[in-house]
Symmetry: C2
Subunit: 223 residues, 2 copies
DNA sequence: ACCTGAACACCGTTCAAGT
DNA sequence: ACCTGAACACCGTTCAAGT
């Protein structure tokens, strides 16, 4: 389909492959990100990829790193630790939100590259300022990052994102199914049906649960 | 390899397939759960599976349902709402913990089957008792469940679980890498290295972060 | 240094056909 | 009702070879 210099002028490169992989994941989901498919988009044979990446897993490593590098870490300030932590978590979420299909890749790869290590260092430092011992900070910090990723992944349907029209229809069906449940047994599911099938406002959803996470830190016993 | 009645005496059945798929996922990870592999273990051709499941996705639906059905929902009592909620989240985590490779399947499938709807109804009911409006309860409740799943998924390495020996080695390597980082830039990562690479006690890790989640509810504005 | 050709062992899935 | 045979369009990966 794509001739050689359509996607990249000149040579094939790690960066060019990663950029097209990100676009592909955004458009059609992570399952569409395939060695063979990427090769085709660059007008190259599948084996050419193996010069730039050891295997598919290291391609995914590259995607995760690319994602994490996009995080715009705020400068350290003199705000209270919890407020500064919140800003970092906001920045992290802002960076991965546009790529829900890829966000999950970051879960087990934050400590693999420098950009992720910098984030971890900041988060751990703030938690220590908040009174957490190193091991506790590690456990809580890991969970915080994973939870943010979970927030971003939550609105990723696996496979190709459906078109607006069929998506609307699927949501209507799902909501109708919930609302036609026996009212005696499921009163709360029925009452919450609209919000269960799709949140009213994504920003509200995110900030509500970020409030929960950061607020929850204050109740924990330190030591 | 396996003769016909090794894995199942008599006929093939949905349940028998699911049970062997769970065992396979536990032993070798979700990637090993393959139509062809399962067929082989039941001494049957791959196409036989398509009589029992529409496609692979509905097999995964079945696995998720199987997992959620294992949740031992505590009886409703007269404990405070947050305490009862905590018990439900504990029960949920206890059920999915043994199957980290499968836990992720439950994320988008809780509302698909009755067992999950019952859990959702209880969680939503308790959140409403805690003062949350229906839509807010939906958003917080969804996040709570997803976070619990994240906790369980967190210690699932994709692919076949490595043997004890090579796992130990991999963890030692990872820890050594973190500890040999420049101390000027990464003091907190270095201090937390042991806990970042593997938590001392999994129960502690889980209960610490469950405390965070449930405690975080109290700080949220209701309405 | 960078890429191709040919081949291997896998996937999920369909469709017609057997009992 | 339950399963098979044959076929299709995909995967990731290796290895020797070309320029």
């Amino acid at each position: 389909m794509a001739k050689r210099n359509e996607a990249t002028r000149g040579r094939l490169s790690r960066e060019a492959i990663i950029v097209s992989a990100v676009a592909l994941a955004d458009a059609e989901g992570l399952d569409a990100v395939t060695i063979r498919r990427l090769a085709q988009e660059h007008g190259v044979t599948p084996m050419a990829m193996y010069w730039h990446f050891n295997d598919k897993d290291s391609l995914l490593d590259g995607l995760a790193e690319h994602l994490i590098e996009a995080v715009q870490l705020p400068e350290p300030g003199d705000a209270p630790w919890d407020q500064e932590l919140r800003e970092i978590l906001d920045a992290f979420l802002a960076a991965i939100r546009p790529h829900p299909a890829l966000a999950g890749l970051a879960m087990r790869r934050i400590l693999a590259a420098e950009s992720g290590l910098l984030i971890a260092e900041r988060v751990l430092g703030l938690l220590r300022r908040g009174g957490f011992a190193p091991a506790q900070a590690a456990e809580v910090g890991t969970f915080l990052i994973c939870s943010i990723i979970t927030l971003a992944v939550a609105d990723a349907v696996p496979g190709p994102p459906p078109t607006g029209e069929e998506r609307e229809q699927a949501l209507r069906d799902k909501r109708a199914r919930l609302e036609s449940l026996p009212p005696g047994r499921y009163p709360n599911v029925i009452a919450a049906a609209p919000a269960l099938v799709v949140c009213r406002d994504e920003d509200d959803y995110f900030s509500l649960n970020l409030d929960l996470l950061v607020g929850g830190l204050h109740g924990l016993r330190r030591g």
